[in-house]
């Protein structure tokens, strides 16, 4: 050994090896094309991938599943760095405007004929993923709203427990707030809603405009009565301590579901799985689903995109098209409760007849299909993602008792304006 490293050339070679070995190459040897598909959370794609690989022997699919934050941070970094991005990438509707601004970094799916598929989707869903003839993404699921509620708590509070009776009890959010008062009077230990933020978001998702005017994208949060109404109603619940003040998907939220900390939550279809996971066996059969106050509204839902960096855009597009085709959307709903964004699928008899045992055998197919039919899309605006958090935080300040509703409202509208740059 000592002799070996005495010569400068040998030492240089060692140094070079040390440096080179840290880099590696990633080509498959057997001539197969490898496509990576990046999603945040499980999209239920595993069995679909297996089938696709069987039907297309030249294709191998690798799945990259991360959580929401990691997924979008990684995507931004990969787009910025110009390498490392997956062939097919899922983008959530709220993040979509950000990526539409840099649409040149993605393949225009219209180049591969995506424009002809247009009629598959609900018109607003299709419109969300396109801009000036540029088709950025193909719609996967959507998040039409329903209301999940705890049957057992409603019974203890002397309220009706039957789905239709509950829906009839609170057709509007004002009625919802009224019922919250009755509920708290009887069962003071259980909170009525999970957080002011959830109620607020659900209400906001039912109005055509939120923080920005659909006409010219100007900031209207301080003038738009829908924003104000939603804020004051949700803030009122927070101020009177009728919310559990747990942020959705945090560990505290999971614990609150497991321990029964709150009685109702506005739930898009994809949330049912998360409630099941958080609640586990203990709460099985205690939850039920009915239509949401205000009847519909969209919350969440994603698109599959093909970034330009990928080496196989044609194959990636084919895969994305297949994954979002009606047969696959139907399969995903029946297996994982992922709500289709295509009318012919959510009106399919088998989908409409679908029930969920965990939620007291609620006819979730019928409920979500009805909600989807009533759904009016809302205009988001380019800077929605900058402004939205300010209002959420303002509601948080009411929940932690540091502000009144009026103070929080004044702050939120002000900071919302500041957040636009």
């Amino acid at each position: 050994m000592r002799k070996l490293i005495r010569h400068p050339a040998t030492a240089a070679a060692i140094a070079a090896t040390l440096l080179v070995s840290s880099a590696c190459s990633g080509s498959t040897g057997d001539g197969k094309i490898t496509l990576t598909v990046a999603t945040f959370g499980e999209f239920g794609y595993r069995p679909l991938f297996e089938q696709y690989e069987k039907d297309h022997p030249g294709i191998e699919i690798r799945s990259r599943v991360t959580d929401f934050d990691t997924h979008f941070k990684a995507l931004s970094m990969q787009l910025a760095a110009g390498r490392g991005v997956s062939d097919v990438v899922a983008i959530e509707e709220q993040q979509l405007p950000t990526y539409l601004q840099v649409k040149d970094k993605f393949v225009n799916l219209a180049d591969y004929g995506a424009a002809q598929l247009k009629d598959q989707w609900a018109p607003w869903k299709w419109a969300q993923g396109t801009k000036d003839g540029y088709v950025l993404g193909l719609g996967t699921d959507m998040g039409s709203l329903a209301l999940c509620y705890r049957r057992d708590y409603f019974e203890q509070a002397g309220l009706p427990t039957d789905r239709q009776a509950v829906a009839a009890l609170m057709p509007t959010w004002q009625d919802y707030a009224k019922v919250a008062g009755q509920f708290t009077a009887k069962l003071p230990k259980v909170k009525f809603a999970d957080s002011a933020g959830t109620v607020y978001t659900a209400m906001l998702n039912q109005s055509a405009e939120n923080y920005f005017s659909a006409k010219d994208d100007s900031y209207v949060a301080d003038r738009n009565p829908s924003v104000r109404d939603a804020f004051y109603l949700a803030g009122g619940l927070a101020q009177s301590k009728q919310t559990a003040a747990v942020t959705t998907y945090t560990s505290a939220w999971n614990v609150a579901i497991k321990q029964g900390g709150f009685a109702t939550i506005a739930c898009p279809a994809w949330m049912l799985t998360q409630i099941k996971e958080a609640g586990g066996k203990d709460v099985s059969g205690k939850w039920d689903v009915t239509s949401v106050p205000g009847h519909s509204g969209n919350q969440g839902g994603s698109f599959l995109t093909v970034p330009k960096q990928g080496a196989h855009p044609k194959e990636a597009y084919d895969l994305a098209r297949w994954l979002t085709a009606p047969e696959q959307e139907k399969r995903l709903f029946l297996s994982d409760g992922i709500l289709p964004s295509e009318p012919q699928v959510y009106q399919d008899p088998q989908v409409v007849a679908h029930r969920d045992e965990y939620f007291s055998n609620a006819p979730i197919g019928q409920l979500y299909a009805a909600s989807a039919t009533l759904l009016r899309p809302n205009y988001r605006g380019l800077h929605d993602a900058d402004v939205r958090p300010e209002f959420g935080k303002a509601l948080g300040r009411i929940e932690d008792g540091s502000r009144t509703v009026d103070q929080a409202w004044a702050e939120a509208t002000q900071r919302g304006r500041e957040a636009i740059k």
């Binding site: 005495r6 010569h7 400068p8 030492a11 240089a12 140094a15 040390l18 440096l19 934050d69 941070k73 931004s76 970094m77 787009l79 910025a80 950000t98 990526y99 601004q101 840099v102 970094k105 559990a244 003040a245 747990v246 942020t247 945090t250 560990s251 505290a252 614990v255 609150a256 321990q259 900390g261 900058d386 958090p389 959420g392 935080k393 303002a394 948080g396 300040r397 932690d400 008792g401 540091s402 740059k421």
Partner: protein, 303 residues
């Protein structure tokens, strides 16, 4: 018998050592110097994370930064948490090291135990502490409840959130510092202790007049390293944030400099501003490290 020429041997002697240390400098150039300079370049532009250079050159990012209230808020939070964590950490570590320096049974066991919190992943520490400090279901509030204290919403207040985050930092670093002090203490010459004993000095007096000055270099090292770590504090407060938006609570009550950098760069995609922020943070680190080093030198005299 020397078959090789003397020139070759001389060259070998001169060049080989440099080649041996070359990998370090090569790696430093790639992962240290280049990012530093590139960041400086980016900070002078209006640079979007996704779009890249948006065509403006100058000190606009720095000008904006020094007029930005959120920057000063983050700076104050960072220093606040640093002081809350560092001062008790320093004394606790000294105390633990002094205890370990006595003749103990199973001393290796104790020493390993003290270091354990530092080996645990910071993410695990963050998650566990966040659970402990949970408002409704947390152990800390449960225990406070036994003494009649009503539940504290730790994230909501400035001081409560700083205390909670500081406790995580302490948990991770006390043992590590204690072990460094211990190693230094074992190198303090035994004669000094014997002399102190002959002079009739108390344990307490011996500790402050012999042990602490004796480990001055170790203290200086931990202070400088601790300062740099403390000013870059990120993972603990980030994980402690229930919303996860990186703003450190609804009112940015515990947003540190690194979190603000992350928010600007990776949530708002303003890479130019984030780069300026990281350079300013770097300079603050340097200034603080020098200041603290001097502070230690002055108060722990080597007499």
């Amino acid at each position: 018998m020397n078959t090789r020429g003397t020139f070759g041997t001389r060259l070998d002697r001169k060049v080989t050592p440099f080649l041996f240390i070359a990998p370090f400098f090569a790696i430093f150039a790639v992962f240290g110097a280049f990012p530093l300079l590139y960041t400086a370049w980016v900070s002078l532009h209006d640079w979007g994370l996704l779009e890249g250079d948006r065509g403006r050159f100058g000190f606009a990012n720095y000008a904006e930064l020094f007029g930005d209230g959120r920057f000063y808020n983050a700076l104050a939070n960072t220093i606040g948490i640093f002081l809350l964590a560092a001062v008790p950490e320093f004394f606790l570590a000294l105390g633990i090291a002094a205890l370990l320096n006595r003749k103990l049974r199973a001393s290796t066991w104790w020493q390993t135990g003290v270091l354990l919190p530092n080996v645990v992943s910071v993410v695990a520490v963050g998650l566990v502490f966040t659970q402990l400090y949970s408002r409704d279901f947390g152990v800390v509030n449960e225990v406070l409840g036994w003494f009649g204290v009503s539940p504290v919403n730790w994230q909501a207040g400035r001081w409560t959130s700083h205390l909670a985050v500081a406790s995580m930092v302490m948990w991770r670093w006390v043992g590590y510092n204690a072990l460094i002090y211990l190693a230094a203490m074992q190198a303090v010459p035994q004669e000094l202790y014997e002399a102190a004993e002959l002079d009739g000095a108390s344990h307490w007096r011996t500790f402050w007049s012999v042990t602490v000055p004796g480990i001055r270099p170790a203290i200086a090292f931990t202070v400088v390293a601790g300062t740099v770590n403390g000013l870059q504090l990120f993972a603990e407060p980030q994980l402690f944030d229930p919303g996860g938006g990186g703003t450190g609570g609804n009112d940015r009550q515990f947003q540190t400099l690194a979190m603000y950098l992350y928010e600007k760069g990776f949530t708002k995609f303003d890479a130019g501003y984030a780069a300026a922020l990281s350079w300013v943070t770097f300079l603050i680190c340097v200034v603080f490290a020098i200041f603290n080093y001097r502070l230690v030198r002055r108060f722990v005299s080597a007499s």
